[in-house]
């Protein structure tokens, strides 16, 4: 918590004067279940990459996909869409 600003440091009207800074806001800790990709099952169809609303799935040059856990909120859409059931939702635990 110590890195967070005090109310004294906030700008007037909570205007964010620097555009595009939403990347600084990591939403990964919202997650209750994390998607885990079984790369041996993955057929690189990219449906998970298309459907991820965040988007928190990184597509590599060889069409391999990877979850960005900094932003993945654990919605499970990727696991639901995967046609070969290569993505499992695993509890983050307490």
């Amino acid at each position: 918590m110590s890195s967070l600003l005090s109310w004294r440091d906030l700008g007037i009207g909570c205007v964010i004067s620097e555009p595009g800074n939403s990347v600084q806001y990591k939403t990964g800790d919202w997650r209750a279940h994390r998607p885990v990709i079984d790369q041996t099952k993955c057929i690189k169809c990219l449906l998970c990459w298309v459907y991820c609303p965040e988007p928190a799935i990184t597509r590599h040059n060889d069409d391999r996909v990877e979850i960005n856990y900094d932003y993945c909120k654990g919605c499970g859409i990727c696991a639901n869409e995967c046609p070969v059931k290569a993505i499992k939702m695993v509890s983050e635990g307490v």
């Binding site: 109310w7 700008g11 009207g13 004067s17 555009p19």
Partner: protein, 399 residues
Amino acid sequence: MAVGVQVGRQTRVGMSGNEAVAYAVKQSNVDVVAAYPITPQTIIVERIAEYVNNGELNAACVAVESEHSALSACIGASLTGARVFTATSSQGLALMWEILWIASAMRTPIVMALANRALSAPINIHCSHDDAYAVRDAGWIQFFAEDVQEAYDLTIQAFRIAEDERVLFPVIVNLDGFILSHGVEALYVLDDESVNAFLPPRKPINTIDVEKPMTYGPLVLYDYYMEFKRAQAEAFNNSYPAILGILQEYSKLSGRNYAPIKTYGMEDAEAALVVLGSSAGTARFVARRLREQGKKVGVVSLTLYRPFPRDELARVLRRVKSVVVMDRSYSFGSPGAQLFMDVASALYDEKERPLLVNAVYGLGGRDFTAEQAEMAFRIALETARSGEVKERQVWLGVR
């Protein structure tokens, strides 16, 4: 220029409260007006539309489909740096409700004339203070005009206050529906040059600019929402000295005295009424008559309602024996009506404090008569004499 009798640099004219507000808005060189018609406010915006149509005022009148949209348009316009005005009443303000909070939190200067009208049901178009009270927590500065002169003067001051960089909050100027909105009175209006000198063009901050994109109204969750509200609270409370200074400056300019509260007979009053809006004149008229009979009575009226002038009020009321707080509204299930609760809270910390009675009166435009005012003073005097509150809340003028 207003047609009337020239008195120095001012002109004595006859206008209804709505016309006086519209004239003040015109003199304030407003840029954008977004409003939706509702009785008893409608004439304000009609007059402004005439000024624009006649070429007397260079402003954009935005036609909208509801009050919700009207205030939303005002926020957008204010963010561009424009001088912005709207007007509404009762149900219209109720429809603006969620946007009111956004206007304050986004620190957008907007001036709103609120022709006070009772909330439905039953449907009614006449004066209660329900509408103003119901938005007291929304973070708007609120003034109450006592007469048409004040409706005019406070409108001009409201722009200066809202746009002051020490303030940057929206401002409501309340005028009692029909009693002031439609009542024609004589008043003095300033010349345009004096208004221009008092109210120079707005110097906005954080304006919308495609060259310099910024985020307005972002999502703020549990990690910052509380800090954000804390900062807003600090800013709202800190606006008080700026408001005082501007009221004083305008008092000098106009020769009419503006302060958060007005007092009559309070130097020696043992029993007093606290009132808002047009009832103040009736209360003072009756107080004068009772004082001529040797009764030590006084009247306190609030020009500034939010931020609440707690210290000033406590100072004038703490040594009074009994006070009747007059509410032109009712708060269901509360310990008292709205102004009563504020006054009671303001006095709680005082070592000496008066016995308090709450009088509910004048709902839905029921006349506040001299007889009712006298009844209220008699309750205050009897409470002061007996040292005992007989009834904590009374209804005046009800069958």
